[in-house]
């Protein structure tokens, strides 16, 4: 049954559905409606909401609550995310499942608080210190703000990793008919009290997330540690093993994590690759070009990280050119160039307005 919802509101509803019972945040446009909705919804389901003193505290509280047994989330925008990144690195190191929603606005710095951008694509990938792999999902509609929030929680639980919902202002603030499906599966936390806190030493696989207060005497630290959480800061082996697990648990499961959609690519000579709100404009431009008899297709990235390099296996032999429109100066285009020998054209817009279908159509005509 469709509901008329704002993208940010749909995100909050998805979090509640996914079992989120703790939210800590700090107001920042254009994400604040997520926090306001959580403040209204969480008490109804016995959850806890707190507005913290800053984004650093918010992310710390999210991690603390997760170790106390909560599924927990925060939401922010670019500058707030910058503040959270040290704590997100801690969540990576301690394999703490949680969800961070980044509703991107035009930057750098405070930039344009109410205008859309896709400028944080690399910040979510590389913002924290050290070596790791991360998961980031890119919704294009209010419906997906709901669905991908649930998916983000599911991925966080499965791989014990902080997961980003990488939205943009246009998707966060859009109001449209959204499908709130009651049938989306939810991954729940399981308890295995006999397993090590961090990774199974036999196969270095991900062990279930434990919780405080069960008498397990957990040792948790952001310093390099062994599988029971004891500091091993002088051990090359402990450091190498940990980093390998952080990376491999994502890399070895990309087929299960990555998701994308293809439109009209069977005979396409030109393929547009887009994500987030920009993919909506791209789809319209592709449909218009098709109606005019041009062989154009679209691939929409639903997963940004890990990067879905497998899309290049799906490309038909007819493809001669790739076009990448982005609301940044070209962040994903370089990832695409790494995996294809085809000519890649980029269309970038960083003036705080969305990329329109006609702009993408113009670009397609220009390169034809």
């Amino acid at each position: 049954m469709p509901q008329f919802l704002q993208g940010n509101e749909a995100c909050a509803l998805g979090a509640i559905k996914a079992g989120c019972r703790f939210y800590a945040g700090y107001p920042i446009t254009p994400s604040s409606e997520i926090m306001e909705q959580m403040a209204r919804e969480l008490p109804k389901v016995g959850g806890v909401f707190v507005q913290m003193e800053d984004e650093i505290g918010s992310m710390g509280a999210v991690i603390g609550a997760t170790w106390a047994g909560a599924k927990a989330m925060t939401a922010t925008s670019g500058p707030g995310l910058t503040l959270m990144l040290e704590n997100i690195g801690y969540a990576i190191m301690t394999e703490t499942p949680c969800v961070i929603v980044d509703v991107q606005r035009a930057g750098p710095s405070t930039g344009q608080a109410t205008k859309p951008a896709s400028g944080d694509v690399m910040q979510v990938r590389w913002g924290a210190s050290g070596d790791y792999e991360i998961i980031a999902l890119s919704p294009w509609s209010a419906t997906e703000m709901y669905e991908m929030t649930i998916q983000a929680f599911n991925l966080a639980e499965t791989y014990r990793v902080p997961v980003f919902l990488l939205a943009d202002e246009a998707v966060g603030h859009i109001r449209e008919s959204a499908v709130i499906s009651p049938d989306i599966p939810v991954v729940n936390r399981v308890d295995h009290t006999d397993l090590p806190t961090f990774g199974n030493s036999k196969d270095n696989s991900v062990t279930p997330m434990p919780m405080f207060g069960q008498g397990r005497k957990l040792s948790v630290t952001g310093s390099t540690h062994d599988e029971w959480g004891y500091r091993k800061t002088q051990s090359p082996e402990a450091q190498a093993t940990s980093v390998a697990r952080f990376c491999n648990k994502i890399k070895q499961n990309t087929d299960k994590i990555i998701s994308y959609e293809s439109y009209h690519i069977e005979d396409a000579e030109t393929i547009v690759i887009a994500y987030g709100f920009t993919a909506r404009s791209a789809l319209k431009a592709v449909q218009t070009a098709r109606a005019d008899g041009h062989k154009v297709g679209l691939i929409r990235l639903k997963t940004i990280w890990p990067f879905p390099e497998g899309i290049f296996r799906e490309l038909p032999k007819t493809v001669k050119k790739i076009v990448v429109p982005e609301m940044n100066q070209g962040q994903i285009v370089r990832e695409i160039q790494r995996f294809t020998a085809l000519p890649v054209e980029q269309y970038n817009k960083t003036n705080g307005t969305v990329i329109t279908a006609s702009e993408i159509a113009d670009k397609l005509n220009e390169i034809r």
């Binding site: 703790f22 800590a24 806890v48 913290m52 505290g57 909560a70 207060g213 005497k217």
Partner: protein, 252 residues
Amino acid sequence: MKLDKYIRPEVFPTPFCQGCGHGILMQAILRALDELSLDIDKMVFVSGIGCAAWIPSPHFAADTLHTLHGRPIAYATGIKLFNPALKVVVISGDGDLAAIGGNHLIHAARRNIELTVICANNSIYGMTGGQVAPTTPCGAKTATTPQGASEPPFDLCKLVWGAGATYIARSTVFHVKELVKYIKKALTHKGFSFIDTVSPCYTQYGRRNQNVCGTSPANMVLDLKNISVRAKQPDELFTFSEKDKILTGEFK
């Protein structure tokens, strides 16, 4: 020794330097929770980064969360809010709690959330090599104030008093019985409790300031007896002005 059961046997030898007050503070904390017969399985000990953070992590045979520099109170807030049945204790240093973590300290005090925060206050950054701290007395030599500290130090008890903490005390690692008494009161207090514990660091502070600290780690601990003044009234916190002395006692 009956406190052994609270310590993970695999963590020895202790990382603390000879003469460090943190070992005494660690014992005082364990003694307090033993005397109160608290169920350690329903407690979480949270710390930041620095020598003091190593008091609970990983020494304590309990749930311990060793977090980032300055952030333990934020993490503790999340734990306590989600599961109020857990007794959450933050043990960290003066640099951790009052410099980089000052914002979390004052806001947790303002919220009067039921956390016990024990500050191991050695007036210096010990682990990183003896740089000036927000609690370093004026004139003290540190790695970053070779001419002597020029900024006035924080009185952390006054700070959290102003922010809204509802139990506030200060003692030293020389006055162990008093310290244990205060920790016991803090652990049973309904609301935000803060204990400023003067804990000497000979390695980084004492050796640079031998004119005031004496010439050995033991002298530095003994000197706490001479420089401490016990408050007769809680409001002495705001009137006390004896130079180079430390006011101890319960202030709220």
